[in-house]
């Protein structure tokens, strides 16, 4: 789709509006807690949208998608704190290196189908985590810290937090635009054909190995960039956080909650889930039960509403199909 046609799509403006709100609201109020809550929402949306490329379009369940986020974080933090790179350059380097690595890995594991593929993605995540935990230059199991002067290039710690926030919102907007653009493209058509029936798609001429590998690699790029920004902001990274399989699964829950295969679905699901989670964590009665409730929620979605929120919306308000994707 040409850039000009993009501008005529209603959904494009939905994304723009959403980004504007995300930026303007905390900036106008200066509310740090709001900003932090929205940072988390943005991260969930980034991870969910990119996961959707593999999960919703191509139909491949990536249980270990968090590995892109974590590795991106490590590359970024390492380049910034040990090699004194500028945070934006480091984030770009993280994105490029992790998606290149993903392409390499992908060529191997994308030959697998269904469960085998899903299992292998868990293997990749756990393997990378075990490796990093033993890798001394990256701090091993204790992780890496970022010293305060690394924030000077962005105007000092306090200013830097705001700048990084805006950068993350930017990555979020890019994720949504990417998901949208792919969905309307020939590449996206091929991916969705693969998701429906991979063998038939091959017979129809869709170059399945290439497309799968591309999708896998592309789905790694923005999460890696986001990981770099996020852990830079947190000033600390360690394997158990960076490669948290549970987080990976939460992202799958958000995609299911919102509706796979749509662009707005992962965003809606991510936002709802993050709000729910935040509420659960602060509510004294439920903090221990966070996992239980997330699990029950996922079970309910899978059994009763596998189409997620978007599925429900499309069924009851068909007109929304023209505005939301």
């Amino acid at each position: 789709m040409t850039p000009l046609r993009f501008l005529r799509q209603p959904f494009f403006w939905v994304i723009v509006a959403m980004t504007a709100v995300f930026i303007a609201w905390p900036l106008a109020t200066g509310d740090v807690r709001l900003r932090e809550s929205l940072v988390l929402a943005a991260v969930y949306i980034i991870l969910a949208s990119n996961l959707n490329l593999m999960l919703g379009y191509a139909g491949y369940v990536n249980f270990g998608s968090i590995v892109f986020f974590g590795l991106g974080g490590y590359v970024g933090v390492y380049l910034i704190s040990e090699q004194h790179w500028h945070p934006v350059a480091a984030a770009l380097a993280a994105g490029i290196s992790v998606s290149a690595l993903a392409l390499l890995f992908g060529l191997g594991i994308l030959r697998l189908r269904g469960f085998y593929f899903a299992l292998s993605t868990i293997g990749v995540n756990e393997g990378v985590r075990a490796f990093v935990s033993n890798f001394a230059p990256w701090g091993g199991a204790s992780g890496l810290y970022i010293s305060l002067d690394s924030y000077q290039s962005l105007g000092g710690p306090r200013q830097a937090l705001w700048t990084i926030y805006i950068l993350l919102v930017g990555v979020m907007a890019l994720s949504l635009l990417l998901s949208f653009g792919i969905k309307r493209s020939k590449f996206g058509l091929g991916l969705r054909a693969i998701g429906q029936n991979e063998d038939a798609a091959g017979v129809l001429g869709v170059p399945t190995p290439l497309y799968k590998a591309l999708a896998y690699s592309i789905s790694a790029f923005l999460p890696a960039v986001a990981g770099s920004f996020y852990f830079f902001k947190s000033a600390f990274i360690q394997p158990v956080d960076a490669f948290d399989l549970g987080f990976s699964v939460e992202v799958i829950v958000t995609v299911m909650l919102g509706g796979t295969g749509t662009v707005a679905g992962p965003a809606i699901g991510a936002f709802l889930y993050e709000e729910l989670r935040g509420w659960l964590l602060t509510s004294p009665a439920f903090s221990n039960f966070q996992l239980v409730i997330a699990g029950a929620l996922l079970l309910a979605i899978v059994i009763f509403a596998p189409g997620g929120v978007m599925g429900w919306i499309f069924r009851h308000i068909p007109k929304m199909r023209r505005i939301l994707e």
């Binding site: 020939k186 058509l189 969705r192 091959g202 017979v203 129809l204 001429g205 869709v206």
Partner: protein
Amino acid sequence: MTTLLDVENLSLRFGGVRAVQSLTFFVKEREILGLIGPNGAGKSTVFNLIDGIYPPDEGRIAFAGKDITGEKPYRIVRHGIARTHQIVQPLSGMSVLENCMVGACFGFRNQSLSHARETVREVLAVVGLADRVNDSASQLTIAGKKRLELARALCAEPKLLLLDEVLAGLNPAEVERMIEVIRGIRQRGVAILMIEHLMQAIMSLSDRIVVLNTGQKLAEGTPQDVANNKAVIEAYLGDPGMVENGVRPHPGAAP
């Protein structure tokens, strides 16, 4: 007319079973070649071999002069061969339009989305699905799904079309309709290799016929030749005595 598809000495084994044995035949440009034989004769396997789904143990497949033996399925389409499946394989979650777009975008001409849309509309009109453009593929009847399968293959703009029992499961009116469509396809310059069990249809459509039995070529020739071939009659009816006693199958009878 030049030879379009050349199959030489093709063989494939599944474990201990010889699915196809030393098969040799050819398809000329613009001709309709019928592939018939009793169940289990290996007809669909031949399609899967041409299509690159199984690589052959022995033999060679050439198309328009190029050797395409063992190439991957998604490349075969780029050479100009499209196929339908015996058991239809619609992309169920997508619409009729989208199904055909896949065929057009990734087929012989590898078109862009906008060009593909034009091709699709033309084909859908020819096949008779123009009014179902935006329906989900899962909502079609069996006849509709068969037409979708055919439309999708046509959207790839092939030079050779492989039809695998495209008439099975259709009522007589639908069969008539489909036969017209197939004739129309040939008019537009596409060669057709078709597997069929409906004897009347394939005898009237085909220029030539190849008969397969237990993976081997049993007979080859015009529909008349094949209908009168003793070995073919035996293979279908199983009892040589029946021929001796003067029982001959009418070319229109189903086996």
